[in-house]
Symmetry: C2
Subunit: 450 residues, 2 copies
């Protein structure tokens, strides 16, 4: 039987990046990918989202391995949310300070660059290899490659094979494996706002556009070809506006004219796209342990999250960064120890970001439409300006820092309570500028001390 | 391809009972069971618990199909808990009123009776048929029978194939299937108190014996052969007394002498059993939907629970009873409708009993050792005596009634709050007899009205 040093399952974003990290250490690394070698169109076969939002944690992992410069030209900075109301009026809510942005990047191009780079540094790539079964005791994997079957032993197996991970499926049958998969009640559909007739962006490209409508929403992210990828999030069923009740041209146009008219005017292919693009579901996955014998789960395979904090890929990249830091410290002769430490350190943080991602859906589709929400952001921004180390808005901790997600969540909850109290003042709209900001910081310090 | 009307996966307690119900309606019913036809020793292959506690919901389902008389001789009534302290002193806490009991019954004999009965009424039994895969769209099942493979189509597939259900595994790969499997931190090991030298029970047979020790416990249930099956529940790891830290004869005897000395004196084979019997894990499973196309999950396959309320089997039998009532109402031509209604009605109740089972572990291993707990039970018993319809202790609602579990849980929580308040009175031990019981009922009515 063939024997590998390191077998990675899945040549997606996380698996590709991880392979580069490990190969650069001089390890023997093979990636097995079930799809054929159509690197740029991987995502199309999966019905997965086309755009990602790359932020600090992701950049940091790219930078350590020298890939930041290569990726930057593909990425379009978005400095804040542009909120569209029913009448087409927009309000801009910055994500952070002036130069802070998240970056729209298309999954296809990004994945291709990473696979090309993996190939360049000497990672072995085996496409069209479908993992049929993993034997955790023997540390061996059975693959189906076309009609032929193959079994491969490995010193180490790492499953970066996503939300529907084969490795995790094998682990799930082991005793004492805790596992949760839950779908939210909403699904999504991707649509397009193409470039204008004269080849320009039809809206401001340096923002993430949101049409928040309470129980549902539309968002749009810019692409380098001057189009926007829009994603419509609706309940599958049960309410007035839901996928179940939108069937024909009349329904589609009715909903868009009523709720998203300014976007509708920019979507010449709406009906066609709506009818032909799939409606996809949104899953949250948590499990533990991530390690069985010599096999480790990483990225979405161990913690797939809903997309509402834009952290799925960033969190997966941070997984790679942290795993690599542990190898730095402990070496490549003690995988047991490295994997054990990795899961122990990392699990509370991935739990935290999964939770934050679920919670942020309500903020995106509902709260951002509330003037009080904007005021709240303004007060928090001012607090952050005055006391940059003491008060860091939750979004900033998650998106523009490398603070452990669990700490961000904990501090975020303390700040939320204080802000709730401040916002409950009926005169806050008039008085917000005259708040005793120092006292607010004292309240936070007191809350932290408990 | 062979085509069945109804295929049931699993010839365990639930599958066997269900098959009898359906066959008696004149339906064509086939059970597929992965184990060979060693009916009486099924449980041994699985490392599953030997004793069950049969209570009202279970009896009701047996009675409707005329099996109560047949099962009764196998069952030993237990009228309450006999709590053993560290010094061997015991206290009896009745489960309900005088004649109310739960019944100890051994899984092996019980399962054999049900399978025999299924065979008698004409259910087709296919043993040694391992379900390899279920195609939910085609409603077909692939079996492995020894070396030979077989595929069977069915109008209806019902998975009563337990906590590690093959049908559920197929459903789990479908989009929008929500699934949770969680192991608790404790495991268990089965041990024996044999009959005495002169062939008698070594302890009172009409009680469930408990040695509650805070974070861990021992229990014992009587068997018809005058032995007791003991189950030791310990944390797997991490604390002073846990499976991880008990390795040799000295450790085993040390723990038993220290914490369970009166039981230890009755366990001549302790060390041998401890070392040879497996340490098993305890799982809680929740999922939804239970129906995909023409396939339905039932019993542990859809809601495996920890054993601490003694309701796993009873709940599964009640599943069968309720499914049958729906068929009574709707007929056998509308399985879609029957299954859809079944899962909708039943899911809140199985969620409730899963939760209660998890919560009751703390009561069994810890609270029952507290004199305040016994007083609380006494006050509740008196309330129930005085106002039998208004105040029904939670244990009674769950065990000695057919009230939906979710209602029992809800009313139980209201009663718990009121009892917490009553018990917080520092003089309660002296004054409990002089409480204003009518006022307590008024409080409950007020709480219900909210």
């Amino acid at each position: 039987m063939k024997k590998n040093e390191i077998s990675i399952l899945g040549a997606g974003l996380i698996g590709s990046l991880l392979s580069i990290y490990l190969k650069k250490r001089g390890l023997d690394v093979t990636i097995y990918e079930k799809r054929a070698d159509n690197r740029k169109t991987f995502y199309k076969e999966e019905g997965r989202s086309i755009n990602m939002a790359l932020s600090d944690r992701g950049w940091k992992a790219l930078e350590k391995i020298g890939l930041k410069e290569k990726v930057m030209p593909l990425a379009i900075p978005m400095y804040g949310r542009k909120v569209h109301d029913e009448h087409g009026n927009t309000t801009f809510i910055p994500y952070g300070k002036d130069n802070q942005a998240i970056y729209s990047i298309s999954r296809g191009n990004f994945n291709r660059i990473l696979i090309d780079e993996a190939e360049k540094v000497g990672v072995k790539l085996e496409f069209s290899h479908k993992c049929e079964d993993v034997n955790l005791q023997k540390s061996s994997i059975k693959f189906l490659n076309g009609e032929s079957k193959q079994e491969v032993e490995s010193e180490v197996i790492i499953g970066s094979d996503g939300a529907y991970s084969s490795l995790r499926m094998a682990m799930q049958k082991q005793v004492r494996f805790n596992y949760l998969q839950e779908y939210i009640s909403h699904g999504y559909k991707e649509l397009t706002i193409p470039a204008t007739a004269n080849g320009e962006f039809a809206m401001d490209p340096n923002a993430l556009h949101i049409w928040p409508r309470g129980k549902f929403m539309l968002i749009a992210l810019p692409n380098p070809d001057k189009s926007f990828t829009c994603t419509l999030f609706l309940p599958f069923e049960g309410t007035k506006v839901c996928f179940d009740k939108i069937n024909d041209k009349k329904d589609i146009e009715g909903v868009f004219r009523t709720y998203f008219d300014d976007a509708f005017q920019l979507m010449p292919n709406l009906v066609n796209e709506f009818q032909n693009n799939p409606t996809s579901a949104l899953i949250n996955i948590e499990c533990y342990p991530w390690v069985q014998n010599k096999a480790l789960l990483i990225g979405d395979a161990s913690h797939a999250m809903v997309p509402f904090y834009g952290q799925g890929m960033n969190c997966g990249f941070e997984d790679v960064f942290i795993l690599d830091s542990l190898i730095d410290k402990l070496g490549t002769n003690v995988w047991d120890l490295v994997f054990a430490k990795f899961q122990k350190i990392r699990k509370p943080d991935t739990d935290a970001i999964c939770q934050l991602a679920l919670e942020n859906f309500v903020e995106m589709r509902d709260s951002v439409a509330d003037p009080k929400f904007m005021l709240r952001k303004k007060i928090e921004a001012k607090l952050h300006d005055l006391y940059p180390k003491d008060w860091i808005p939750l979004y900033t901790m998650v998106t523009f820092s490398n603070m452990p997600y669990s700490e961000a969540l904990a501090q975020g909850k303390l700040q939320e309570k204080i802000m709730d109290r401040i916002m409950s003042n009926p005169l806050i709209t008039q008085n917000w500028d005259k708040l005793d900001y120092e006292d607010i910081i004292d309240q936070l310090d007191a809350a932290k001390a408990v």
